[in-house]
């Protein structure tokens, strides 16, 4: 499945609204201006995910993972490479956590940030689709990309797609690249894209 240019633009715009909310929430929390760069959106089959992500996260990844259920169901993840995760925590906590590794407090911060971002995006999709989704408690994992992909792509009977959203957090003259991955069943994705088309049509009228 490929997104048309219009669909891709519309989806980017919608996610950008969620990102703006996330940025505002993080700015308020940290007392620093936090911006999330305009997102780039692409759709992959889950078996293509590895190739698509490998070049961005060569080493270990930190992921904040939330399962969502309801009429639209799947997995939502915020992915950062390990150094990026350390740097982001550092920036958000005023260098309070300026070590080279993620201690318990740093992991908590990342979990909170991931949770805010995932909630903003999925909440926005929920509103768009006018459905109610429920979330699991967010979990932070530190593992290799392969381990991570194995945990989200196995045991899924129906064909699945992944919506991959690239962005970067801009905080205090620094930038930390990350991406959002939303794994959806083909029916869920179809439904989402229909709604995006409808929203786009409404916008242009």
């Amino acid at each position: 499945m490929k997104l048309t240019e219009r669909q891709s633009d519309a989806l980017s715009e919608l996610i950008n609204i969620a990102f703006a909310r996330t940025g505002a929430a993080l700015s308020e929390l940290t007392g620093h201006r936090v911006l999330l760069n305009p997102p780039e959106v692409a759709v992959y089959r889950t078996e293509e995910l590895r190739g698509a992500l490998a070049k961005f996260v060569p080493g270990d990844v930190a992921s904040i993972h939330q399962v969502f259920a309801g009429p639209v169901a799947g997995d939502a993840l915020l992915l950062l490479n390990y150094e990026g995760a350390v740097h982001l925590t550092d920036l958000l906590t005023n260098g309070h956590n300026s070590s080279a590794y993620l201690d318990e407090s740093a992991r908590e911060v990342l979990t909170e940030v991931g949770n805010i971002l995932l909630n903003a995006c999925l909440g926005m999709f929920g509103n768009l689709l006018n459905v109610h989704v429920t979330f699991s408690v967010p979990r932070l994992h530190l593992e290799t990309l392969d381990e991570l992909l194995a945990s989200i792509t196995t045991d899924k009977g129906e064909k699945h797609y992944a919506l991959v959203v690239y962005t970067a957090f801009q905080i205090r003259d620094s930038s930390v690249k990350g991406f959002l991955v939303i794994v959806l069943s083909v029916t869920s994705l179809d439904r989402l894209i229909q709604e995006v088309d409808a929203w786009e049509a409404k916008q242009s009228n």
């Binding site: 201690d103 407090s105 408690v137």
Partner: protein
């Protein structure tokens, strides 16, 4: 609902209540209006609020601070279906509670919080808040972090200190190797010739030559010792200046006179530009002469044959300037800052052309300092000469004092014969040493025992002689200019046997440390003869090497 399932539900509820009360976390359950439904034992203990006081009360009414700190929004979002995570690092705490362990310096208990919606049949019927006390953990992380930072600071400062110590140690080692070399070289000639004098078998002209060589070498050693003593006096602050009004020009002239023979020997042109107005200054005449003499010696030493050394003395405002310029080997940009350091020479390897301890300029620097002056160096780089400028404060006094020092001139034009040691009849020995005294001494000893001696001044000459004369034994010095003894022996050992590749060889050197000995033996020599060489030992070694050669 069946009886069994209702019994199960009751049991489950009882178990849950127990678990909640035993939990080491705070647990608050509310309905969808945020009225408190459950308040566990931990919450009672840490807030001091009893269950009976809070059940049925609205959470936000009970804790108005939640709204004031805008944390109430989290409950609104939870009621919309979101799970909320509140980290300690970004929020500190949800509900103010006193700390259990005040020693960590926190006024409030630090908390990590999760707020989840409670669903039933697709509807949200309430919220569940779980509060964890992380004060201890956060304090521990802080300490750990401080330790890590302190350790990395310590490591980097330790590393710096260690580098400094290692560099100082290496300089000291190099200095010790140099000093052992410089002190042993004259000693070699002194002991060798003295030994022959004692045997009483020298012809009268050779007695003169022996005495002359001994005297010259003893003088040079005395100079080394004097330099060392000066340095040690300067270091310990015991050097005293005998300050009087002195005539700088006569001091400079005396220094020039004393260096002239050495300059003439190398056909170096000594040029002087002396400003009569530079006249009298206040200082220690001997030390001032030592300063100028050291600079001139240095200039002559580092200037090749046919070069030029210029001394300029001029009065500039309220000071006097002495500038010694040479057309010599120059100083590399890298070495320039270290020129006045003690024990430093640009080239500490064994291929050293110039000898000396590297103390002269350090002494100059210290003595000029003691006179309230300054010394600086300029060089455009290697091969481009160097120029040393001394600035001394001018004092308007008049003096007629003149100082001068004559330097012995030395002639080496005689060759000696010597008799009286065990026979080395029929052996051809190739001797390689850049110092004439050592060469001749060995020649005397070996010749006297009946061997034929071929002398070479350098490794290159030795290689030629090896082909030409087919010697039986090689005796080679290690520290020679251009190419050292190690390089020579490795080239020889690479030759086929018929061209002398297997010639028995002994190394002769003033570098007498254990690691020098090891290196000598590993590099292809059979013997290591430390200088000063004992004549009997030399002959025994040559005989022994020859014995091996005959056997193979």
């Amino acid at each position: 609902m069946t009886e069994t399932s209702s019994k199960e539900t009751l049991l489950n509820a009882a178990v849950l209540r127990w678990m909640h009360d035993l939990a080491a976390q705070g647990i608050i359950t509310t309905d969808s209006e945020l009225n408190i439904v459950e308040w566990n034992h931990w919450m009672e203990e840490h807030t001091g609020k009893r269950v009976s006081e809070v059940i049925g009360k609205n959470l936000l009414d009970l804790f108005p601070e939640l709204t004031a700190r805008r944390l109430d929004r989290n409950y609104k979002w939870t009621l919309e279906g979101q799970v909320r995570v509140l980290s300690q690092a970004l929020h500190g705490y949800l509900i103010a509670m006193p700390v259990v362990s005040p020693e960590h310096g926190y006024e409030q208990m630090q908390q990590a919080v999760r707020i989840s919606p409670l669903n039933h049949d697709g509807k949200i019927i309430g919220t569940l808040t779980i509060i964890e006390d992380v004060t201890e953990r956060v304090a521990r992380e802080g300490e750990l972090q401080a330790q890590v930072e302190a350790r990395s600071r310590l490591l980097s400062s330790e590393k710096l200190a260690r580098n400094d110590a290692e560099r100082a140690n290496r300089l000291k080692d190099e200095f010790l190797a140099t000093i052992s070399h410089e002190l042993r070289n004259p000693l070699n000639a002194i002991l060798g010739w003295a030994h022959m004098l004692r045997l009483g078998k020298l012809t009268p002209p050779n007695v003169d030559r022996a005495v002359e060589t001994i005297y010259r070498n003893a003088k040079s050693q005395a100079q080394l010792v004097a330099d060392l003593l000066d340095v040690s006096r300067i270091i310990s602050g015991k050097l005293r200046l005998d300050v009087r009004p002195v005539d700088l020009l006569s001091i400079v002239n005396a220094a020039i006179d004393s260096i002239r023979p050495a300059a003439d020997a190398k056909s170096i042109r000594l040029q002087t530009i002396l400003d009569p107005a530079a006249g009298p200054i206040s200082g220690d005449a001997d030390r001032l002469q030592q300063i100028v003499w050291n600079l001139l010696t240095n200039a002559v030493k580092f200037t090749p044959k046919g070069g030029r050394v210029q001394v300029k003395v001029q009065r500039v405002d309220s000071h006097v300037e002495i500038v010694v310029t040479d057309s010599g080997v120059g100083i590399s940009k890298e070495f320039l800052p270290y020129v006045f350091d003690r024990f430093r020479q640009a080239d500490a390897s064994t291929t050293r052309i110039h000898g000396g301890l590297g103390l002269g300029l350090s002494i100059v620097h210290q003595l000029v300092d003691l006179h309230g002056g300054s010394v600086s160096v300029h060089s455009d780089g290697e091969g481009k000469g160097a120029s040393f400028t001394i600035i001394l404060p001018f004092v308007g006094v008049v003096s007629t004092e003149k100082e001068s020092e004559a330097v012995e001139q030395v002639h080496s034009d005689k060759i000696n014969t010597f008799e009286g040691l065990p026979t080395l009849e029929g052996l051809k020995v190739l001797v390689v040493d850049d110092e004439a005294d050592t060469r001749e001494l060995i020649q005397e000893v070996l010749k006297d025992c009946g061997s034929e001696v071929i002398l070479s001044r350098s490794a290159a000459e030795a290689l030629e002689a090896l082909e030409k004369y087919k010697p039986d034994i090689l005796i080679s010095d290690l520290g020679m200019p251009d190419e050292d003894g190690y390089s020579l022996i490795s080239k020889i050992r690479a030759l086929p046997s018929e061209r002398g590749g297997h010639i028995p060889a002994a190394a002769l050197t003033a570098y007498a440390r254990a690691e020098d000995r090891m290196r000598v033996l590993r590099s292809g020599f059979q013997f290591h003869l430390p200088k000063p060489v004992d004549s009997a030992e030399l002959v025994t070694v040559v005989a022994s090497l020859a014995g091996r050669a005959y056997k193979s």
